[in-house]
Symmetry: C2
Subunit: 207 residues, 2 copies
């Protein structure tokens, strides 16, 4: 476990093997976090789904209790008492349904939503910036290779200047994308802990 806790932006331009190696540690961590977040989200959505199904189930039960009255029993003598008792139970189930509905809403807003936002915003941003950084690095490598393959004759000075400009532009692009990528990876480390705890605080409050 490295002692550092962030990627230094001033190292981005030099892009040394040490920096690359540290980058790979941050990338591995982000990968583990993405897998874990997906599993955690799945577990949380299952709890939310069960809570939601409980809303629908209590709703159906309440309706079914009221439906006794409308059955047109051929022998309905003495049913008034059953009907009024089932009405009472239907109200009890309705009250419970209100609680379940409120709880389902809270779980959606304070537990599931934050972790979805963390995935969609923070993790997706890192993954997008990783791709962009990879593309910029490739472009830079290609222009460097092109430059090094140029014949060393004097008459090629003009072409050399052209390709040199290309290399400089590619390096600027790669530098910029690495700065953005490092920033996102650093921010992820900063967000990670809160992102794991926030939904459970919402969950505990809901209960």
């Amino acid at each position: 476990m490295p002692a550092v806790d962030k990627l230094l932006l001033e190292e981005a331009l030099q892009d040394s093997p040490q920096t690359r190696s540290l980058l790979s540690v941050f990338e591995e961590d982000a990968g583990t976090l993405t897998d874990y977040t997906n599993q955690l989200l799945q577990a949380m959505q299952r709890v939310y789904g069960a809570q939601n199904e409980m809303c629908l189930a209590t709703q159906q039960l309440s309706k079914q209790l009221l439906a006794y009255e409308k059955q047109n029993f051929a022998l309905g003598k003495g049913d008034e008492e059953v009907i009024s008792t089932l009405h009472y139970f239907s109200k009890v189930v309705d009250e419970l349904n209100v609680l379940h509905t409120e709880l389902a809403k809270q779980l959606a807003d304070t537990m599931v939503l934050p972790i979805i936002q963390f995935r969609e915003k923070d993790l997706t941003e890192v993954s997008t910036l990783k791709d962009l950084f990879g593309l910029a690095s490739n472009e830079h490598d290609l222009s460097m290779a092109k430059y090094s393959r140029l014949p060393k004759k004097k008459e090629n000075e003009k072409v050399k200047t052209e390709v040199g400009k290309e290399v400089a532009a590619a390096r600027r692009k790669q530098h910029l994308s690495s700065l953005q990528y490092y920033c996102a990876l650093n921010a992820l480390q900063y967000r990670k802990r809160m992102a794991m705890m926030e939904p459970m605080i919402g969950f505990a409050h809901g209960q």
Copy 2:
């Protein structure tokens, strides 16, 4: 709605059109009750299913919270706090899981089971006895038809006695099965109200 509330057993032997008509009222009532019971059972099983799914979902969530520790994050600095907080939440979820498990068990025992027993015992008994009564009535009708088709000559006395015995046996059988059927239909009227209310008393207690 007829003023009577039970089938009189002393009417069973005579099997008059009035008794048959009253019987059909009781049968219609039992049919409506069977349909309603099946719908009520389905609604109750849905509530039980949601409660059971909530047990499994909270179990999975608790495990997933503990799993954070085992992720081997490449950058684990400062994770001790997250781990201990997630352990705490895992315990909260476990306690909730105990409640959900207890509630699911109660729903199964005091809500779903009584209505299943009512269906399997009372409603199935009525339906079986209806079939047996139908068979016995058919047999009786056939032996009566056979008797009435006998030629009225004197030399047939012996055959007539034989068939007469058959008719008497069939009538006894039909009488017996109608007594059992009437008893079950009367008992159903008696059980019906309690059977509708008992599971909801169990449900309200559970909550």
